[in-house]
Amino acid sequence: RAMELPPGHFPAARAAAAALGYLRYLRGGPGRGLRLRELRRARRQDIDDVGHKYYLELELEDVLDKDSTVSCTAEVLYHLGSKSSAPDVQVTVQGELRSTEQADQEFYNWIRSLEKELVAENIPDSHGNVPPELEPIHLLAWVASGYVIWQNSTENTKLHLAQVKHVKQVKRSDEDLQFDFVVLLHEMVSQEVLPWQVTLLWHPQHGARVSQSRAAGAGS
């Protein structure tokens, strides 16, 4: 009942982008950024009165460990007629992802030790460069934007993080780190560049969660 889809055609590619967003939110961190190496296989099932479900087989790479790849399967269910609900996504990563415990702890300690709250903008810069010390912040932006991408994906969109326009750390009284991001998301189908404000909380043991997000006002 599931129809095979050519992985090089756009319907599968759009579902993969949604799955990647979810995966980055779930498994990403200052020491880990996952990129899609190849979409190996895709199938689609139309479920009456429910929606369209995509079954994907993905090959991913960790940008900080490019020599190895990780396979994963994903299921993306777009609900029928629903413009306002996020697709249901499930991912299963085959095997173990490289541990980032040490890098996470070092990053955490570094941020906590800063006297002034961290502020940065344009990551990457116009030439595509990211200063090495800001790479963990860049990867946390992938986590934050991953959430927004997952939540706002439909069968008619393909969202990617284009640039971190602005990031500001906000000191908290609890153990979490808080970063307020303004990210620019590029939507491939309409070609629009959409600014989003996202607040991300992160802790080396507790992981990441988005505490709030909203489309920002019209930019320049």
Binding site: G8, H9, S68, A162
Partner: protein, 334 residues
Amino acid sequence: HQVLRIRTKNEEEVKQLQLLESLEHLELDFWINPSARALPVDVRIPAVSVQSVKAFLESQGIEYSILIEDLQDVLDKEKQDMAESAQRQRSSSSFDFGAYHTLDDINAELDQLASEYSFVEKIQIGESYEKRPLYVLKFSTGGSNRPAIWLDAGIHSREWVTQASALWIANKIASDYGTDESITSLLDKMDLFLLPVANPDGFVYTHTSNRMWRKTRSKIPGSICVGVDPNRNWDAGFGGPGASNNPCSESYHGPSANSEVEVKSVADFIKNHGNFKAFLTLHSYSQLLMYPYGYKCTRPDDYAELESLGRAAASSIRSLYGTTFQVGTICNTI
């Protein structure tokens, strides 16, 4: 020394190669190391070890081919090439074709290329909305209105790698004419017209004001929004699927076909020339190699040839560094 290309069929073979890698006395130099990835393994083998390594591979049933028969020959040729290119004019060797540049620097380099190569000429085909010249590099080794190839880049100004790629390509083709067989035979029969910055107003705007600007910078009557998507402004399926009639949209098609002077200049030039045989346009990002149509989903008459050509090109690209491009119609792919 020989360089072999080894194609492993399974994990076991990869392990055998990794074993070979560990035998230091063989002094093998792996250019691409054995790993689980689907890339071929390239290895340089000192002359004295060549026979025994080949014997080993054959006994294990591991497939290989000879990538470079005699490495010394290749190195000697390279040394010669480098000496020759060092003798060429100073300025061109100081332009970094692997970096992003401003419009002024790009235009200066176009002049440089034209002055350096007798078969390269810079021509102006029109002006942008803000009155910037639209420069095209013409590659022609002779004849009169030979069949021609068109290549443009930067029609969407924020797609910076495309303008840079166009310059890289111009330099590569110009410098390889006379030495590279395919380039030489191509330019001996056909002309090439290359427009590296199809949307100069937008390009300047990405440098001065908004890195994400895509469209032209024309004023739209009755709207506070600026600019038209030049790649929706062509007189082919105008106003059809994939384009927006909202002036504030990134894919706004404009008030009418060819309303944008940048687009009209190109259309007029191509029509007046009358002998163009192929068209290529560069966009980023994505790694997609696409052919018509975008505004409808019917197959073009030359579908079979385009598909086969696309696959051959994608295969060539992949053979260098493993980069994969998806091939298909615009309608199916994007």
